[in-house]
Symmetry: C2
Subunit: 154 residues, 2 copies
């Protein structure tokens, strides 16, 4: 198998699926965290909302680029562009992991505290949001690993 056709790297359908997964999970995480919940009282939740607000436009842009590459049968192979994509992916995946785990740490603490501190209705939404952020991180790690694998062949 040629390095130019690594499944999951930019311009393949596997990459498009990974990007769509990132968009879906990070949007769902953002929605569960921000709608109807007072997330701004915890720094970690604000951080999660900020990071998800960065991940969504990034993944949407790259999903569009992937879709275009597949339709035009012209995958991105310029070293400069790919380097920007790989670095961006890595930075965002590190930030997503940090946000997801700090949220998970706080959710765990709130679930053990008494109910006045965190009504069950809110807590389950926080929990769901942090699980979705972990899923989004998983997809993001996949994209960045596959693109990193492609890099030495260019």
């Amino acid at each position: 198998m040629s390095r130019q056709h690594v499944p999951g790297s930019m311009g393949t359908s596997a990459s498009l699926i990974l990007r769509i997964g990132q968009v879906i999970f990070s949007s769902a995480s953002l929605l569960f965290m921000s709608l109807g919940v007072d997330f701004y009282s915890y720094t970690a939740f604000c951080f999660l909302v900020t990071v998800m607000g960065l991940v969504i436009p990034w993944s949407v842009t790259l999903a569009l680029l992937d879709g275009y590459s597949i339709l035009a049968k012209c995958p991105v192979r310029q070293l400069g562009i790919l380097l920007v994509i790989v670095i961006g992916d890595w930075v965002l995946s590190i930030l997503t992991l940090a946000a997801a785990s700090s949220t998970a740490g706080i959710v765990d603490l709130l679930l053990r505290a008494d109910e006045s501190f965190c009504p069950p209705k809110y807590c389950s939404r926080y929990l769901l949001s942090s699980m979705l952020a972990f899923l989004s991180w998983f997809f993001s790690l996949g994209s960045s690993l596959f693109n990193l694998w492609l890099l030495p062949s260019l």
Copy 2:
């Protein structure tokens, strides 16, 4: 510069410095978290202690291996061994980041809560421990990136 002499990869003095940094920071983080503080009441703190307990023996072993390689002038260049080291480094660096950020999230929450919840003496130790864990993650990320960079040349 040949790929065989990437500074920071296994068997160079830069790698030895990175490993010693990991050992120092993760030991300090473990000591501040575990001595005289009731860390077991928070899941995230237990997770940090567990992860640090994994990172310390791993880094000590690799620091010894690095020291031996430098003295014997015989760097490790077997693909199998290097692959195990890279994968182990990545897994531990991801775990360290997750533990450090969940601890940081909880410390931030405790610092905002009232003092009955977290006496200042304890809180500053938790904070210091999470900062040291971030430093340990930084060094661990360095090692794993440099070794990953060496991998395609083997």
